[in-house]
Amino acid sequence: MSANRFMPLAVMLMLAVLSLFSDSAKGQSSKTPLIPEVTILRGEFQQIRTLKGFRNPLKSEGRFLVSKSNGVIWQNLKPFPSQIRISNSGKIVNLSKINTTQKAGQKITNPKPNAGMNKIMLAMLSGNQAEMAKYFKIERTESNGIWTLQLQPKAGMARVFAHIEIKGDRYIQQVLMQEKSGDQTELHFSALSEVPNTLTPEEKKYFE
């Protein structure tokens, strides 16, 4: 890190961009949730990504586990298996790179500092509205038991996202992220359940 921590003003404002990739303070949970908050949520996901310069969309599938107090585990199953953990602080641990013979705790931490982005994902999935409100103006509509959130990015976030739409009923059902660069990512969730509402011993191991 060669840059000065006491930055010129102009440079500091460039952080608008960087805030996406670095740690930020913990948010408070709101009293009137826009999304039902959950303590534990398990399910399957399908992701469809449309990238500029690519003819075909990129599809992936897997399972996930959200624990409000611990973080998220993403388990990619297709097209190739991988597993990551996003802790509450936004830190990512790439679990798939851990050698099975290694002891727990010797996990390789992903050096990519996109914690901010991951915290947004975590906030969306666990319904942490305050965290989302830090970066987006949120508008909520509801019809026939299906709610829709329109997220308009605030100053810094607007450099990356054009628009985000989240839909759900009791649980989150789908997320559509349109990026400013033209790339787009769609997430669909299924087989959602919050039972049992505590982590099983097996699940706990992921968060160790």
Binding site: A3, N4, R5, M7, V11, D23, A25, K112, S181
Partner: protein, 765 residues
């Protein structure tokens, strides 16, 4: 003669009007110090560093909870914005930010952090492909600043992070950082007070305090920290305003009281005050004409001039009082030679202050000498015409004149006096064993402790670069300049690892050398093409690498960008074929660190460690010892002159002053006051004034009216310089204290060594 002087005084009044309107006062401590550099680039670097600091005010609003800190910061900011013409919020427009992002996106494949470069050079195609594929299928948003295909190796985020440093984020449009177990919102302002005002009101401080109070009303638990050069300047101005009032008006009032009780008439009072006012005004005007600006410290010091310049008026009126039969004009003619001598010796004593090539001291010397001259000329040219009637002897002047005959006399034969001498000697020796010296810049600065503390806390949380310690890089071309910086930076990175410095900021962080850019470009474009080709094969795509700039960018492309404004201070440009830049250092706070830095960079051609504070300290130390030597020579010369005049009795004039000077030093030592340049300078004036008392008493040892003149003169000198001891500026405080003891003691001691009272006629004209 009187008419010529009247015209000059009128001109002086006009200049004064213009001066106080144009606000030519200076509070920058650096303005008191010489620019020792002959190197144009180094001078420019110093100027730039000083300019950057001027005007910038930084506020941190902290709370254990970041939401509270943000809410408090918004209240604080709203209050600041309500007041007009004091502090302007520093923000950059979205457009300027976007322009900077777009600029670097154009050159994206020419930008790599050292770590990125190293890992790319060592990577193999298999690994790169794998991590690229993983990112392609990772959950969440696909890319970031640009679309995925423009940055398949995900390099730009890391590059920006490296530019910006760790730990500062933007939330709700506010900059937030963590430190000391709290979240801190960073607010930045620019002071719009073009020059500080000498109205004694701390405008900025009051605004910041009221904004803080607004924020604390809702969130009492928050902590607010302020820092910035304007706050120090304002504190200095407020303090100086108080000091000028106390010292200037205080000694003026005291002198007026003395004059009134000595002569019991209003006219002497008015005339003496007029001579003082004209003296001070002339001091200010001439200093402003010669130096362009008058420094605050000069004004504070100059205020004490009052205590010396009144001598001529008092001298005149006490002689008139003693000899009412002689008419004003003949009396003035009779006094003139002596007054000339007195003026010249005092003026020389003041001018000797200016021998050290410190602009601050030269200002004070010019100020005092011209002020003295103007007061002297006022007395000489005006008093004989305005003085109508000699005053009769007052009760006070009667008492003072008579006191000489009761004054104790030193007797070497008496046992008690011998013991006293031994005690005094012991006191002096023990005091000298405690003497310390101090040559740091701090002697010229008196910032409130709370401001210094807040600044310390802010540098702990944010890290602030020092404007007085930095690396100056020079080369014969812009490209070589950047290359020199690039060879310097790995050494600095090593120093960061060793905790010698915390971080640094260099222009090459933002403008890599053309060589570096083309190396990066070759590496990145090759690897990106390979990865895109591999992905195309495995996904059945035909991915094409988007175009990027074909040429490198340099200073001329970069400087027009708005966001570079605050970095431009580090850019020194070209002077006579030599290019220069400043590498700013952060967290350099011990002399060991400085030595390590010097070791690491000393051998590099074109890299110079500039340390203004130590430069100034060694300069002050140099002049302290040089002036001490001059002082000793001064004592020797005075001793010779006295011996030539008084032969065997010469010691009677010199000893009191020497003892007084030594006692003054040891008292200072016992009080824990270190000896500094200004202490030595005070001793010049002690020698000058103290010996005068001795001479006067030796010359007219039976004339009580000469003792009256000595007493009145000494009392007013003591008042003026004694009040200077109240100054918060260590240098002026020391100066005042030394004068107080030195002049006071030599005044009290001189009559102890007077010649034994032989029958003789009182000295009368």
């Amino acid at each position: 003669m009187a008419i010529v002087w009247s015209v000059l005084v009128l001109a002086l009044c006009l200049h004064q009007l213009q001066f106080w309107r144009s606000n030519n006062l200076d509070s920058d401590v650096m303005a008191l110090l010489p620019n020792t550099h002959h190197d144009v680039l180094e001078t420019r670097a110093n100027d730039n560093m000083a300019k950057v600091a001027t005007g910038h005010v930084l506020v941190l609003v902290g709370s254990a909870d970041s939401e509270t800190a943000k809410s408090a910061a918004l209240i604080f900011d709203a209050r600041i914005k309500k007041s007009i013409g004091l502090l302007r919020a520093q923000t950059m427009s979205e457009d300027d930010t976007q322009a900077a992002l777009d600029f670097y996106t154009r050159y994206r494949d020419r930008l790599l952090t050292p770590q990125q470069k190293k890992s790319l050079e060592q990577s193999d195609a298999e690994n790169l492909l794998q991590s690229s594929m993983e990112r392609l299928y990772s959950v969440g948003a696909a890319s970031g600043l640009s679309n995925w295909i423009s940055d398949p190796l995900a390099l730009s985020a890391d590059w920006w992070q490296d530019r910006l440093g760790q730990g500062v984020t933007q939330e709700d449009g506010l900059l937030v950082t963590q430190g000391r177990d709290k979240s801190w919102v960073i607010l930045q302002y620019h002071s719009e007070l073009s020059a500080f005002q000498l109205d004694g009101v701390a405008h900025l401080k009051q605004l910041l305090e009221s904004a803080g109070a607004d924020a604390k009303r809702l969130h009492p638990e928050i902590e607010i920290l302020n820092a910035g050069v304007p706050l120090h300047a304002e504190a200095a101005a407020v303090r100086a305003n108080w000091e000028i009032n106390t010292i200037g008006y205080g000694s003026l009032a005291a002198v007026m009281l003395l004059v009134f009780f000595a002569f019991m008439k209003v006219r002497p009072l008015i005339l003496v005050s007029a001579s003082l006012l004209i003296g001070v005004a002339a001091g200010i005007s001439v200093t402003a004409l010669i130096f362009g600006k008058v420094h605050l410290l000069t004004l504070v010091f100059g205020a004490s001039l009052v205590g010396v310049a009144e001598d001529y008026g008092i001298h005149y009126f006490s002689s008139r009082q003693g000899n009412p039969a002689i008419k004003p004009l003949p009396m003035m003619r009779y006094l003139l030679p002596g007054m000339w001598l007195a003026f010249i010796t005092s003026a020389l004593a003041y001018l000797s202050l200016g021998m050290a090539p410190l602009p601050g001291l030269q200002q004070m010397a010019v100020f005092s000498a011209t002020g003295l001259l103007a007061a002297f000329l006022t007395v000489v040219c005006w008093f004989p015409f305005l003085d109508k009637q000699a005053s009769s002897r007052s009760w006070l002047s009667e008492k003072i004149s008579q006191s000489l005959s009761y004054w104790p006399r030193w007797n070497w034969q008496r046992k008690s006096h011998k013991w006293l001498a031994v005690l005094v000697a012991l006191f002096i020796v023990s005091g000298f064993s405690k003497l310390q010296t101090q040559d740091s810049l701090r002697q010229l600065q008196s910032s409130p402790i709370s401001l210094i503390d807040q600044q310390k806390h802010i540098s702990e949380i944010l890290g602030m670069p020092s404007p007085s310690q930095y690396l100056l890089v020079t080369a014969n071309s812009a490209e070589n300049l950047l290359q020199t910086e690039e060879t310097l930076k790995p050494r600095l990175d090593a120093l960061i690892e060793q905790n010698v410095i915390r971080s640094y900021s260099a222009l090459s962080d933002w403008v890599p050398s053309a060589r570096q850019q083309s190396e990066n470009q070759a590496l990145v474009s090759g690897l990106e093409k390979k990865v895109l080709a591999d992905i195309s094969v495995s996904l059945g795509e035909t991915l094409e690498r988007p175009a990027s700039s074909v040429s490198a960018f340099g200073f001329k492309d970069w400087l027009p960008l708005k966001f570079t404004q605050t970095l431009q201070a580090q850019y020194l440009g070209e002077v006579d074929g030599k290019w220069g830049s400043v590498v700013m250092l952060n967290g350099l706070n011990s002399s060991e660190s400085l030595a390590k830095l010097s070791d690491a960079t000393g051998s590099m051609a074109g890299v110079k460690l500039v340390d203004r504070s130590s430069e100034i300290s060694s300069l002050l130390a140099h002049y302290r010892s040089k002036m001490t030597l001059m002082l000793l020579i001064g004592y020797a010369l005075v001793a010779l002159a006295l011996f030539w005049r008084f032969k065997a009795n010469a010691w009677r004039a010199l000893l009191p002053t020497m003892v007084a000077a030594l006692l003054s030093l040891s008292v200072s030592a016992w009080l824990g006051e270190p000896v500094q340049l200004f202490t030595v300078l005070a001793h010049f004036l002690i020698l000058g004034t103290g010996v005068d008392y001795g001479i006067f008493l030796l010359e007219h040892h039976t004339d009580p009216s000469s003792w009256l003149a000595v007493c009145l003169g000494a009392a007013s000198t003591l008042l003026a310089f004694g009040l200077l001891a109240l100054s918060a500026t260590p240098a002026l405080h020391t100066f005042g204290l030394s004068m107080l003891f030195g002049v006071g003691l030599s005044w009290l001691l001189s009559p102890c060594f007077r010649l034994s009272a032989e029958p003789g006629t009182p000295h009368h004209p």
